[in-house]
Symmetry: C2
Subunit: 212 residues, 2 copies
């Protein structure tokens, strides 16, 4: 029984559970239990059950979870019952790699618009999308019903473009530029800083952080 909000750490794990359940479905498993989910997801069974308990009661005691049913619940809670409409902003190497990333389409994300500032690219079509000018962002974003923006522009332009995204009514931004974006309340930003990730790995290569 539950009325509270879902803890952020739990939200972070929901996509992993969904992925695991889709794998189980592909293996023709009709039912799965918390121990099996935990193993496939890289966590423990108590964590799995506690996480699900924030969303409701989906299991059958003595049996486990109906895979199809649980997928339906997680998809609903993640807002993935329809495809989410995504714009890629910045069509450099990273932006173009992301545009054609097969994992997006399969996991509820449809790229509906691609933007760049470079006049040489604007109007050209790549992988089925015509590159739009960033100056047309507001108009195109509204027309295409963009819900999520993937920001893959140079760090120096990121804040300025983020401001335009917000002005265009977009409230969810995944930012690949290594800068902290300032956005109004109600806009959610997730930071993806590849170099920072590698630096974290580098820390662990060290003789566990001996001082000077």
């Amino acid at each position: 029984m539950n009325t509270q909000s879902v803890p952020p750490t739990t939200v972070q794990r929901l996509p992993v559970y969904l992925r695991v359940l889709v794998q189980a479905q592909a293996m023709r498993m009709p039912v799965i239990n918390s121990v099996q989910i935990a193993e496939m997801a890289g966590t423990n069974a108590a964590q799995v059950r506690k996480d699900f308990s924030y969303l409701g009661e989906f299991g059958t005691r003595g049996i486990g979870y109906d895979v199809d049913l649980l997928i339906a619940h997680l998809s609903k809670r993640l807002g993935l019952t329809q495809q989410r409409r995504v714009a890629i902003v910045g069509y450099g190497r990273l932006g173009s790699a992301l545009q054609s990333y097969p994992g997006f389409q399969d996991r509820g994300m449809t790229v509906v618009a691609v933007f760049d500032a470079d006049p040489d690219k604007i109007g050209k079509t790549f992988d089925g999308h015509t590159i739009e000018a960033i100056s047309d962002l507001e108009e195109v974003a509204r027309r295409e019903g963009v819900e999520i923006a993937v920001l893959a522009v140079p760090a120096t332009a990121a804040q300025e473009v983020a401001d335009r995204l917000v002005a265009a009514g977009i409230t969810a931004i995944m930012n690949f530029a290594p800068v902290r974006l300032s956005v109004p309340d109600g806009v959610v930003v997730r930071q993806a800083d590849m170099a920072a990730e590698l630096q974290i790995l580098s820390f662990h290569l060290n003789p566990e952080g001996k001082p000077a």
Copy 2:
């Protein structure tokens, strides 16, 4: 005064602090205080001071932190006093985007080898690197002194390639494939699942997770 180990949450923030300090250095600020760092890093001053306290005492009371000195300390702790030697494994769209990502070189990471399984790519040179066969992974990785691997192969191949990386003596892996890798103790993996990140954003677009 400090002998304990650094909490994982603190380690995650160290690259952000380092980036902020380099920005401050570029702005010709000789000294910075915890309030300013916090603002630039998107956290609060108490958090900044507590984080640094796990590494030692670098500040001057009444003044703040010497920017150059603090950069030196963080770089040392992150193991970035020399460039880290990185291999890109999987030269598809994402792998090739990462290979030429300018943020790597500037932030302590040098790509020293690039691998792929596709015979059409092996032996060809792109952006100054000749693509090596994944079958030569162990030999090339040892010869080039690879310390960190960026795994950008299809999900189906990820575990198999990860096993080879481990066999080649690599103990730090950044995995872009949406699968949980199983690796022996002592090997650190960081997971970068782009679709999962977008799904987390999707959760927040929802009427904050109302049930069925």
